[in-house]
């Protein structure tokens, strides 16, 4: 059985964009039971779904087509990481989750990535970058685990 006192010391950042990413992350809720958590997502609409999981930060939507927004989101993520200092990041993507993984890794955090089920033919762009720094990298199609090193398939979340 996990030691509750030790569990408390392990602060976990739960990071996922609004939509399918957050739905997939929330299916895994039993794994962070007993740990201190906080959440980072991309739109206000989903804030209510995260209320029970500690502090909720909304960093805004961004993608490759909007470089200025990417910078704004990056700065918000940077602030969050320095304020919260997570020990672990668990993310299902996408861009903001990827940034939080890299930023948290820089301050010594462990990175858990679950690539979204929508990535059928290859791992997501964010996932392909995070793979190099991830401590646990899970995919939801067995074919992908065969194709990439350091990638595990144990089952599907949705």
């Amino acid at each position: 059985m996990p030691d509750t006192a030790k569990q408390k010391q392990l602060k976990i950042c739960l990071a996922a964009s609004a939509g399918g990413h957050i739905s997939q992350l929330l299916k895994l809720a039993s794994c962070w039971n007993g740990y201190e958590t906080f959440c980072v997502t991309t739109t206000e609409v989903v804030r209510n779904r995260l209320n029970k999981l500690g502090e909720v930060y909304v960093v805004g939507e961004c993608n490759r087509q909007h470089p200025i927004r990417v910078i704004a989101v990056f700065i918000r993520c940077l602030r969050i990481v320095f304020k919260e200092r997570p020990c672990v990041v668990i993310s299902t993507g996408a861009a903001a989750g990827c940034m939080l993984c890299f930023l948290s890794k820089m301050i010594g955090a462990k990175v858990v990535w679950i690539d979204s089920i929508t990535n059928v033919e290859r791992i997501s762009l964010s996932g392909r970058m995070v793979r190099y720094i991830a401590d646990l990298f899970l995919v939801q199609w067995p074919e992908l685990a065969d194709r990439y090193k350091k990638v595990e398939f144990v089952g599907t979340v949705v």
Partner: protein
């Protein structure tokens, strides 16, 4: 009732227009409820709301005989969990509707597995809507508990070290 939804983030007028066109053909007698995002297009054959509260959305979803949507995983998951016949039209990169064609990939894969019907373009929508009436989706059995257990083991090892 058919529930048409395009997800919470962006409008998807290409789909709304195609469903509107199909709903305007002779002999079409089904009621459509639509959630279409911040769209400027005004359908002639059904009423729309830009976004609806989660509770209202859930009610429309569970009341619907079938669902039509973009190929977003949120909607697909919900339809599979409730075993609703689902028709999706993927958002495509070439129209600037998404940054990559992941919706197309998941639609193809899930169509092969018998989980949903796919309209690959607007011309497909009408004929697929007819098929949707009698479509029975395959049951999907995900295993989030196994995935969660794998992560829990990882976290446990970390907290013990």
């Amino acid at each position: 009732m058919i529930f048409l939804t395009v997800g919470t983030q962006f409008p998807f007028d290409r789909l709304v227009k195609a469903v509107d066109k199909a709903a305007g053909t002779n002999g079409f007698d089904e009621h459509i409820v639509a959630q279409v995002g911040e769209s400027s297009y005004c359908p002639k054959n059904f009423e729309v709301s830009p976004s609806v509260e989660k509770a209202v959305f859930d009610r429309y979803f569970s009341d619907a005989e079938s669902v039509i949507s973009h190929a977003g995983m949120g909607t697909i998951t919900m339809a599979l969990e409730q075993r609703k016949p689902l028709l999706v039209m993927p958002r495509l990169k070439k129209y600037g509707e998404v940054v990559n064609d992941h919706q197309l990939a998941i639609a193809k894969k899930f169509e092969q597995l018998g989980y949903l019907l796919v309209a690959y373009n607007t011309e497909d929508v009408q004929v697929k809507m007819k098929q949707l009436k009698s479509f029975v989706p395959q049951q999907r059995k995900p295993c989030p508990d196994i995935v969660a257990a794998r992560i829990a083991t990882f976290l446990n090892e970390l907290s013990q070290s």
